[in-house]
Each structure stands twice: as structure tokens, then as C-alpha cells.
């Protein structure tokens, strides 16, 4: 078991965003975390990434308690994330972006030279090798997404959290993203995706967790979840149930 989330609860000024949510993630899993807007998936995501602590509950990574650790320590323990609205370092080159990930994060290297070599390899993997000297601010939206992914990979994560990574992509680009995420499995990286596009999540994940109004309403294989009457009612709506 790589990650265990125990009874997470989070309230913002009296408003309960997440209530008693528990789940586990096995090594090598691709887990889909879905739910309608405001269902608490972003809150759960941010707690796992260390953006803010939960009101109560625990997050354990490989059995060790990481609840409430600040984001940079969470990263050092081996959890990397992407942002829903991409946040590359705009005034730094693509190479510097990835090098920053390689020199910090989990298992960082101290040598600038080594970081540069490894960062180039990662840039090649995400198809940006030729743009290594381009400032991130001059890249297209798509390229920025890949760069942010590359920067996250450079931190050598055990667990990668992808926040609506597919949002804004055309169906073709979604396919490209899915095959890339497929490759992570071979590299031993476990992935949790928070997504709006249900179809992509169902194809990609081997395990799906559905949140609604801050609570977990279903969990299981994509097939199980998509047949679950609670899910159909809360998330997909009655009218889709027949399809």
C-alpha cells in the first residue's frame, strides 16, 4: 500500500468541504478521483499535496504519517503534483524549469551538471528537447502542460497527482496524454488523476473513487462505478443512465 487516506475532514469557515473520506492507493495504481464541481475532490487533492492541512484525519505515505506537512516536505517525501491552471516558471528556460525539479524534490541531485543531463533526458521524454533554451513564457499552452509534467517527474515522485490535466485538450491530445500516463506505470510511478472528463478517467484508471458533496459515494473498478446508481444519480444525471 503506497498511500492511505484516513477519515479526512476539512471545513472552511464552517463549510464542510470534505467529510470523513478514506481510501487507499496501491503501488502502480492509476486512480481516478471524480465528482461534480464542489464535491471535494480539489480539497482532497490539496490536502494530499500539502497545500493545506485537514481539519481532522490522516494521510500516510508508505505507512508514514505525512498529514499537515508543508508542500515542500511532501514533495521531498515523494509526492509530486500538477496544477489545474499550469504554473511553469515563465521567465526561466524549459531546461531550468526541469532542473529545478531535479535539484529539489525527492532524491535531489546537488550537482548542476548532473541535473542538467538528467533534465535533458526528461525534456526528451516529454518531447521538448529542442526547446530546452526557450523561456517557458514563450511556449504554447500544451507545451507548458508537458513542461509542468516534466518538472514534476524530475522530482522523482513515487506518487503523481494530476489536477484536471486533460482539461482543455482536444480528443487527440487526450489520447496522447493517456498513453503518456500509461508509460508512468512502467516507471513505477503511481498516479492519482482528478478529472472532469469522465470518459478519460474510465479508460485510464484501474480504480475510481467518486466524491459527492464532500463524501465518498462509490469506489471500485470503472465498470462497477459507472453502473452504481448513486453515481449515476449524483454525477452523471438521470438522463445519462440509459446510455
Amino acid at each position: 500500500m503506497l498511500l492511505e487516506v484516513r477519515q479526512l475532514t476539512k471545513s472552511f469557515g464552517g463549510l464542510l468541504a470534505l467529510s470523513n473520506v478514506s481510501f487507499t492507493v496501491e503501488k502502480g495504481d492509476v486512480v481516478g478521483l471524480i465528482g461534480p464541481n464542489g464535491s471535494g475532490k480539489s480539497t482532497a487533492f490539496n490536502i494530499m499535496a500539502g497545500t493545506f492541512p485537514p481539519t481532522s484525519g490522516q494521510v500516510l505515505l508508505e505507512g508514514k504519517d505525512i498529514t499537515g506537512l508543508p508542500a515542500h516536505q511532501v514533495s521531498a517525501r515523494g509526492i509530486a503534483r500538477s496544477f489545474q491552471l499550469v504554473r511553469p516558471f515563465l521567465h526561466l528556460t524549459a531546461l531550468q524549469n526541469v532542473m529545478a525539479g531535479r535539484m529539489y524534490g525527492h532524491e535531489p541531485v546537488a550537482s548542476t551538471h548532473q541535473a542538467k543531463t538528467e533534465a535533458m533526458a526528461i525534456l526528451a521524454f516529454i518531447g521538448l528537447a529542442e526547446k530546452n533554451q526557450t523561456k517557458a513564457g514563450s511556449l504554447t499552452v500544451m507545451e507548458r502542460k508537458w513542461l509542468e509534467l516534466g518538472r514534476a517527474l524530475a522530482t522523482r515522485p513515487k506518487l503523481l497527482l494530476l489536477d484536471e490535466f486533460m482539461a482543455g485538450l482536444t480528443p487527440t491530445e487526450v489520447n496522447a496524454a493517456m498513453s503518456l500516463i500509461g508509460e508512468f506505470k512502467e516507471q513505477g510511478i503511481t498516479v492519482i488523476v482528478v478529472e472532469h472528463i469522465v470518459k478519460a478517467v474510465m479508460n485510464l484508471s484501474n480504480h475510481v473513487i467518486v466524491l459527492n458533496a464532500g463524501t465518498k459515494i462509490a469506489e471500485g473498478s470503472p465498470q462497477e462505478v459507472s453502473r452504481d446508481p448513486h453515481v449515476i444519480k449524483a454525477y452523471l444525471g438521470e438522463r445519462y443512465a440509459a446510455h
Partner: protein, 234 residues
């Protein structure tokens, strides 16, 4: 009525729209659909003069508005309810509506417009003296639409009216949109909720990564294989 012809838009070095054209005729409901980040909001910002296209032309009622300041576009009767709702949370509901009638022409008909808004949204009449920031999401959306109606617009643009609202409220909002359209106001609605948008639209455009990739009547797109699998499939 509204003609967007072949506009390109960039944020600094970053081009986000290519060759986008779109048309809204009088007394019609038109939808623009597409995934998050495809350029829907950017198109609307360009229409409203909040962004200047690098190429192309936008006309409204036959007049070129490509370089016109936002408030003048609004005064011409072209009004946008933005995806960020567009209410002033530190002002009361009444103040929000009053400000909605800021342009001189609208100010003259203020009382009459406000009565109409209260008829459509009785809840706003009840909450008049409350600060907009204390309203629920759905009420704020109603206030934003109400505020726009205070201007007595000829064309109303709605950016993601269903975003973040409970399904029941979404139904209400779409009913109101239909009602407004029957009163002779043209509507351009931008939605991620593709199904609902296509159901009320006579004509619709599909935008992906900054380009219009498909356009047809709402009914046809609703049954289109590609649209169904990309946006409605499970």
C-alpha cells in the same frame, strides 16, 4: 447582429485563438461549446473589448466594435454575464441592479427594468438590501443576469451560466434563458454543459484549442457522433 470574423487573439507571445468566426442573428439563441481552456472565454473577452484581437473584425448591429471601449459596447446593447458571475459582492443587491442601469439611456428606464427583473427573479426583490457577497451561487447568477437585464440589452452573452450550480438551479437558469429569448433578446451562451446548451440553441459552434472545429444547428450537433463521444460520452 453580432459578427465575429476571423479573429486571432494572443496573450503576449501566447496565441490562444486562431481564425475564429461566429455569427449571432436577431432573436436567436446561439451556443458555443468546447472543453475547458479551449478559448471560449477569450472569444467573449475579445467581443467585449476586454482584449484586442491581433487580426480580424468584430461588428455589432453593423458597427465595427473591434477597437471600441467596453463601456461603449455595453451602451450599444451588447451585454455579457461573465463566468466569474459579475456581481459586486461588497455592494447590496439593490446597488448592483442600480449600477446595472449606469448608462444614461438605461438609467431613464431604471424603475421599469427593475420591476421586470424582480418579476423574473422574485428572490432578488426579497434580498434587496443584502450584500451580494452573502448570496448563494445560484442567487448570484440570477443577480448577474438581472444586472445585465437592467441595461435592456439587445444581445445577451452568458458565459458558463451553469458553472458550479446545483442541477435543479441549472434547470431554473436555463428556463430563464429561454424566457428571455422569447422576449426578443438574442442570446449567445457558452457552456461546458454541452447537452443543455445544445438543447436550447438554434445554432452552435464547437471550439477546440482556439479553433472553431464544427458548427451546425443545435439539433444536428446533439446527435453528431463526434460531439457525442467527445463531450457527452461516458
Amino acid at each position: 447582429m453580432l459578427h465575429i470574423s476571423r479573429i486571432d487573439v494572443a496573450y503576449g507571445d501566447l496565441q490562444v485563438l486562431w481564425d475564429v468566426s461566429l455569427e449571432v442573428g436577431p432573436k436567436s439563441v446561439v451556443a458555443m461549446v468546447g472543453p475547458n481552456g479551449a478559448g471560449k472565454t477569450t472569444t467573449l473577452r475579445a467581443v467585449m473589448g476586454l482584449l484586442r484581437p491581433a487580426q480580424g473584425r468584430i461588428t455589432f448591429m453593423g458597427q465595427d466594435i473591434t477597437q471600441t471601449p467596453t463601456h461603449e459596447i455595453v451602451n450599444m446593447g451588447l451585454c455579457l454575464v461573465p463566468e466569474w458571475r459579475g456581481t459586486f459582492s461588497t455592494l447590496t443587491v439593490l446597488e448592483n441592479l442600480e449600477l446595472g442601469a449606469f448608462p444614461k439611456a438605461a438609467r431613464a428606464k431604471k424603475t421599469e427594468s427593475m420591476q421586470r427583473v424582480f418579476e423574473i427573479f422574485p428572490i432578488l426583490a426579497e434580498r434587496q438590501s443584502q450584500r451580494a457577497g452573502t448570496l448563494s451561487g445560484g442567487q448570484r447568477q440570477m443577480l448577474a443576469i438581472g444586472r445585465a437585464l437592467m441595461l435592456q440589452p439587445k444581445l445577451l452573452i452568458l458565459d458558463e451560466p451553469s458553472l458550479g450550480l446545483a442541477p435543479l438551479i441549472v434547470d431554473d437558469i436555463f428556463k430563464v434563458i429561454k424566457q428571455i429569448s422569447t422576449e426578443g433578446i438574442s442570446i449567445l451562451v457558452v457552456e461546458q454543459n454541452v447537452n443543455m446548451a445544445l438543447e436550447i440553441a438554434q445554432y452552435a459552434y464547437v471550439i477546440e484549442t482556439g479553433r472553431i472545429v464544427q458548427h451546425d444547428t443545435g439539433a444536428k450537433l446533439l446527435t453528431d457522433e463526434r460531439v457525442r463521444s467527445a463531450y457527452m460520452g461516458i
